[in-house]
């Protein structure tokens, strides 16, 4: 049995919307913005269902954000959830692994949206701007 290992959860690399993809490659001032979504209590697919619908996720992805999920749900569950909704995401990581997302993707602004104080804790620990999933996040859906 392998124990005590702390391997990085695998990160799904997929074609990003133009701005995000270019930003990821160039790493210059045209850097994209990145949003990490908690699942339970945040996305409509969560338990309890959250405020953010899959339509909203697609919208914000179309705006050019690099997106993915960050949850205590297993990585395999997260991947299956996105596949079931036909959404290709840049990352699926465990709640305490936002640092890996930051290491993997260069972005102008890192945002994590989640409904508990653990979301706030881990977001701020790793230099993400934290938002509770209420109307405080509406501005993220405005064109960037």
């Amino acid at each position: 049995m392998e124990v005590g290992l702390h391997r990085a959860a695998p990160i799904l690399t997929i074609p990003l919307p133009l701005k995000g993809r270019e930003a990821n490659i160039k790493g210059d001032t045209s850097l994209a913005k990145l949003i990490s979504f908690d699942i339970d209590g945040t996305l409509e697919t969560g338990d309890p269902p959250g405020r953010i619908t899959m339509v909203m996720v697609r919208q914000v992805q179309a705006l050019g954000y690099i997106i993915g999920s960050c949850s205590d749900r297993t990585v395999s569950h997260q991947k299956r959830m996105w596949q079931q909704h036909g959404i290709e995401v840049a990352f699926t990581v465990l709640k305490h692994r936002l640092d890996e997302v930051k290491a993997q993707y260069a972005a102008e602004h890192y945002v994590h949206i989640g409904d508990t104080n653990m979301d706030k804790y881990h977001a701020e620990l790793h230099g993400f701007t934290y938002y509770f999933p209420d109307n405080s996040i509406d501005h993220l859906w405005e064109p960037i």
Binding site: M1, E2, V3, G4, L5, H6, R7, A9, D47, P48, D72, T74, V75, S76, H77, L94, K95, H96, T116
Partner: protein
Amino acid sequence: MTNANDYKWRRDKDGMGVWEHRGKVAIVGQGHSPVDRRWDGVSMDKTLGAYSMLACQKAMDEAGVTADQIDGVICCDSHIAGPSGGSASKWAPRPYFAPPYDSEWGLTLVNAQWLIKNMGLKNVKFAPTGLPTISEMVGMAAQAVGDGLCTTCLMIYPCGNLEGRYRRGGENADDYAKGARQWTVPWGNHGGNDFINIFPHEQYCRKYGGQHDDLAPFVINQHKNGMLTPWGFNATHGIDPITVDDYVNSRFILRPLRIWDCDRPVQTSTALLFTTADRAKDMKQKPVYVLNHNQYNFKKRSTQESLDEIELWTDTAAKRMYEGAGLQPKDVDIFNPYDGYSIMTQFYLEAFQWHGVKRGDALKFYAGDISVKGPHPFSSSGGNLGTGRTRSAMYTDSIEQLRGTAGARQVTVRAETALAAFTTPSNGGWIMLGKHPS
């Protein structure tokens, strides 16, 4: 109605000898309601009261018992978070509904009186108030039937959960630690894992060798067994069994305790039906006999328990149980200890020396074959980790294993005796069940 404190039913002392009602009391029915993550606040058919009535009806139907035959009702009348949860475990005040949901009764609390009224139980003569958890209630029900206070007794354990953070309200949400809390929980939250597990668990690893993540096979096996438990939360909600990678990469809740070491609060209710061995012969279900019950409430020296204390307490619990049941470790076929936090289970396994496991052997034992189809089907219930925080899977799996009706979980080894508990090392109780009365 009798206050539970007025009836001396506990077997909580050393040297009490073989239980006087050994094999004369039987469990003849069990019922689980659905297990939801939480009550949604609007579905009146899914309230804690509705689920408790459903569980009772299932237990009665299993035994072929009708409402007029019930003469005892023993129902835990506090929140699952328990009195220790204090204001942190209360969800009130909030809006109520039409009767019988015009107060907390039936919503976040259930008691015998509410059940008697709403189930039309007209012949109940024993329905005490101020009751403990299922940990001790199973013993109380067995003793009450044995003592003749009632003959056909429903025991109900309601476990409620509403939206919001479990045990994180009230004084736990306060910015100040007032009164005695300034000495015991100055950081605010008092969960349980911090005080009763972490320190002795780390002492355990230092004393006997091994590391925390050696618990992975046990936790993973609990999840597997949970998926074989059709009524449980995991099985009914398609919770993926976890892998070693999932476990060792998971988030720490309180280092080294990982998120998968902790159970999941749920909304559910469980009922067991106790009767006399004589009456059980004429009922629908194959009886499972009570061979002994014991309780304990050991005095702590401080807020922090040590490994030495836990080993002494669990050894004492095992000694009382084996003495009262007239059995030895080699006689126990099914062993369903409590796993609400995975890091306490090894203390019970070693104290009761199930399948020859001695102090310091548990982590090595976990690394072997502990599957339900193997030679050491440890915790065949899946426990709380595999079914949700019902605190009852240990009991109902034991009953099903002895009946031979555990389905995909049915063990392949002998299944004639079973030990089950929801308990902490310092406080709670155990029950020994038998396929035969003697």
